[in-house]
């Protein structure tokens, strides 16, 4: 079994001070709530369930496609690209998303000028992620024609 590294952000309830457009809200239904739902849907009462418990369910009450670790489609950037309608996420080829990768470490460029007064208060909140310094790049079109090792020396 090869070693796996999880590159994804946890999806969890965000703090209330985050603007609604940026916040993830999750409603958790516990086993008792699930039992109530089962009774409502089917008429099966809790005494017919193991330990009286029903199913647990989570509902995203506020969760956008860009709210966690996500893949952007060209459609996100503009309606047309190169004179054609930009592709949405369901239209992109699956093989784009299973490819060799290379890490470009931009740690040296991690800090910029200090935040100005115009920086909104929410911009430093908890939804930021890891080191904010690296970009991973997966070659899609012609991985065999360019050595990934050469990409590291490029300036990004």
């Amino acid at each position: 079994m090869p070693r796996l590294v999880d590159l994804s952000a946890p999806i969890r309830q965000d703090p209330a001070e985050l603007p609604e457009q940026l916040r993830t809200d999750i409603a958790y239904t516990d086993h008792a709530g699930g039992a109530r739902d089962i009774e409502t849907l089917t008429g099966v009462t809790p005494d017919l369930l193991r330990d009286g418990e029903g199913w647990t369910v989570e509902t995203f009450t506020n969760f956008g496609t860009h709210s966690s670790t996500h893949v952007d489609a060209p459609w996100h950037y503009n309606s047309t690209i190169d004179g054609r309608r930009a592709q949405s996420i369901d239209e992109l080829p699956l093989d784009w998303f299973y490819r060799p990768g290379v890490v470009l470490d931009m740690t040296a460029k991690a800090t910029r000028s200090p935040p100005p007064r115009s920086r909104p208060s929410w911009s430093g909140s908890a939804t930021s992620c890891g080191r904010s310094t690296s970009c991973w790049c997966g070659p899609a079109a012609t991985p065999s024609t360019t050595s990934p090792a050469t990409w590291r020396s490029g300036r990004v």
Binding site: T65, H70, A73, I89, R119, G130
Partner: protein
């Protein structure tokens, strides 16, 4: 969300020209933080500054908010990052995973 160097439109073109169609970053966004872009765009009052890399005119995908990139070697891994199949969607959440060689 507040800090990070961001990726320029030029760098995005550079990667695209080398065949890269999926790029990713462990920051909130691919471009520099929004407040930085906004400040610069308003100060110079011209297009092509705010969201410059997003709107580079390239048909590519980018992954935002990656984690644990520091655990990866420079090369020698495969990334699986299938997006959820949102019809007509501008993005899809993904459980991105790196599979290390050997």
């Amino acid at each position: 969300m507040a800090l990070g160097p961001g990726v320029t439109a030029e760098a995005t073109h550079w990667l695209y020209d080398r065949g890269v169609r999926v790029m990713g970053i462990d920051a909130w966004g691919w471009d520099a933080p929004l407040w930085m872009q906004a400040e610069e765009a308003k100060r110079r009052s011209e297009p092509g500054i705010f969201w410059a890399a997003h709107q580079a005119g390239l048909a590519y995908s980018q992954i935002e908010r990656l984690f644990n990139l520091g655990e990866l070697p420079p090369t020698g891994f495969t990334v699986a990052c299938f997006p959820l199949k949102v019809v007509g969607g501008s993005a899809g959440p993904t459980r991105a995973v790196a599979i290390l060689d050997g």
